[in-house]
Amino acid sequence: MIEVRWHGRGGQGAVTSVELLASAAIGVGKYAQGFPSFGPERRGAPVAAFSRIDDKKIKVRSGIYKPDVVVVLDSSLIGLVNVTEGLKDQGILIVNTAKSPEDIKKELKYSGVVATVDATRIARTELGVPIANTTMIGALLRMTNAMKIDDMRETVTHRFSRIAEKNLNAMRRAYEEVKISN
């Protein structure tokens, strides 16, 4: 089972990301959960959302405290929120930033793999808006092999209809452009 924690700000679509990911995973025969950090949320305030993906039925319903992967949608959260809290030592941290993975690794003193991608720039080019939630799914799929980008197609089409292809392109670009630490 892969457990993922997403960090974003209210309105950046972290919850949409976990919904899309869970729906797509279940659509291709896997089992998954997607859920927000329960409680009130405000636009702009730090939020978290969570994903579980497995090949067999998932029983556990408690929170995720030791994620395998952390995705940071907004790098301005680094320093405000302890994004590596509980992240497994051999886990993966994926950050939406123009910085190099080595810089982030040094900044956060994290021992596992760090990956970075300038998802906001990709989203601006491909979608015309600086909302990187779907783009970052591409980076997550590259780093985990949880699914193929094409596995997202049905769910993304259902959700975004006219702009589905643009979102899929953004995912694909993040998948290809992600930089991985040594």
């Binding site: 729906s23 409680g39 029983k59 556990v60």
Partner: protein, 390 residues
């Protein structure tokens, strides 16, 4: 087999209601129930189902409106949560006294104060003696299945009682997970149109919910109690039919690895599967432990509870609500009362857990169960608030 889809459970519940050929729904929004009402109103507005959706100004009006509509013979649905359920409280016993087969989804949430929007069972427990059938679901699939089953149970000619389906708020309502919907034609076959015992109609006047003083009131209360007790036969029959048609089996009390287990833990609601993981872990360590999951809260399944607990030495009952100044949690009281007349009884322990959304991970279940396994008996018949800071 139907295709599995990933869907938020609250949306899935509304979709399930949409499969039941309802005539009318009245729902007032409240977290964490709101997505049920919103999606149901979408289904009506988009013309996907042929029903009336009445927007009301409060939960008191929502329950009153479904009572009126149910009285005309309509198939009706409502849903609420926490303070909304508390506002409905005074009307709930009227619905059951009038023998109206209303189906209500409850997205279980803590009751204020202090204000809290997260999950526990403190909203549904004060409704216990309202004369409603009350069931608890454990996951999204059960939420779909039991919502559909509820119409059939409630409307059965030997039941004619309202029913509430308890769905843990957030832990279930806000979870996108794997569910499958039963085939619509099969649902139509399973759930034929309602055949009301009597209907309100201007051309054929009759009175429902009339005045009754001391000369009749006791008889009506006894009739309601008998009806609720008798509903169990129908519930069991409906679950059997469901298993035959849809392949998923439901029982009032579910047993998980209870065979030969010395210590049993009991849950009700969405923590059941998390507790299963703790049982698996402890069994792997060689501990003789098992899990009992209570699904039917009213009518209370006394015989099934006695049967599943009869060989246990210790029972750990978990509660998601407090009975202030009482003997422990409300489930604990019921289990003790069920066992009082047994000649051989297990030692019984009570943990009050997961109040106001406090998370209970597998590790907490493991340590709770271990503590009970290791107890020499001095803490039996007591209750404890899990993890409380003092």
């Amino acid at each position: 087999m139907a295709k599995r889809v990933g869907m938020e459970v609250a949306i899935a519940v509304a979709e399930a209601v949409g499969q039941c050929n309802i005539d009318m729904a009245a729902v007032y929004p409240i977290t964490p129930q709101s997505h049920i009402g919103e999606h149901l109103s979408d289904l009506v507005a988009d013309g996907r189902i042929d029903a009336e959706f009445i927007t009301v100004e409060s939960e008191h009006s929502a329950i009153s409106a479904v009572i009126g509509a149910s009285g005309t013979g309509a198939r009706v649905y409502t849903a609420t949560s926490s303070q909304g359920l508390m506002l409905m409280h005074e009307i709930l016993p009227i619905a059951s006294a009038m023998r109206l087969p209303i189906v209500m989804g409850i997205a279980n949430r803590a009751v204020s104060g202090p204000l809290n929007i997260l999950n526990d069972h403190s909203d549904t427990m004060p409704q216990r003696d309202s004369g409603w059938i009350s069931i608890f679901v454990e996951n999204g699939q059960e939420a779909i299945d039991m919502t559909i089953q509820s119409f059939k149970i409630a409307e059965h000619k030997d039941v004619n009682l309202p029913i509430c389906v308890n769905i843990d708020g957030f832990q279930l309502t806000h979870m996108v997970e794997s569910v499958e919907f039963p085939d619509q034609e099969m649902v139509n076959k399973f759930l034929p149109p309602r055949e009301p015992f009597a209907t309100l109609h201007p051309s054929k006047p009759l009175t429902m919910g009339a005045f009754a003083m001391a000369d009749y009131f006791t008889e009506i209360m006894k009739a309601k109690n008998e009806a609720l007790k008798n509903s169990k036969k129908v519930i069991l029959a409906v679950w059997e039919e469901w298993a035959r048609m849809f392949g998923r089996t439901y029982k009032p009390v579910e047993a998980y690895k209870t065979d030969g287990a010395e210590t049993l833990v009991l849950t009700m609601g969405s923590m059941g599967e998390t507790a299963e993981m703790a049982i698996d872990e402890l069994r792997a360590e060689g501990l003789s432990v098992g899990l009992v999951k209570l699904r039917l809260w009213r009518p209370f399944p006394f015989a099934e509870i006695r049967d599943v607990l009869k060989n246990a030495k210790k029972v750990l009952v978990t509660d998601r609500a407090v009975s202030f100044g009482g003997p422990g949690g409300p489930v604990f009281s019921e289990i003790k009362s069920a066992l009082y007349n047994e000649r051989v009884r297990p030692a019984i322990y009570n943990y009050i857990i997961g109040l106001g959304g406090r998370d209970v991970p597998v590790t907490d279940f493991v340590s709770m169960i271990k503590k009970v396994v290791q107890d020499a008996g001095e803490n039996a018949d007591t209750y404890e608030f899990l993890g409380v800071r003092e």
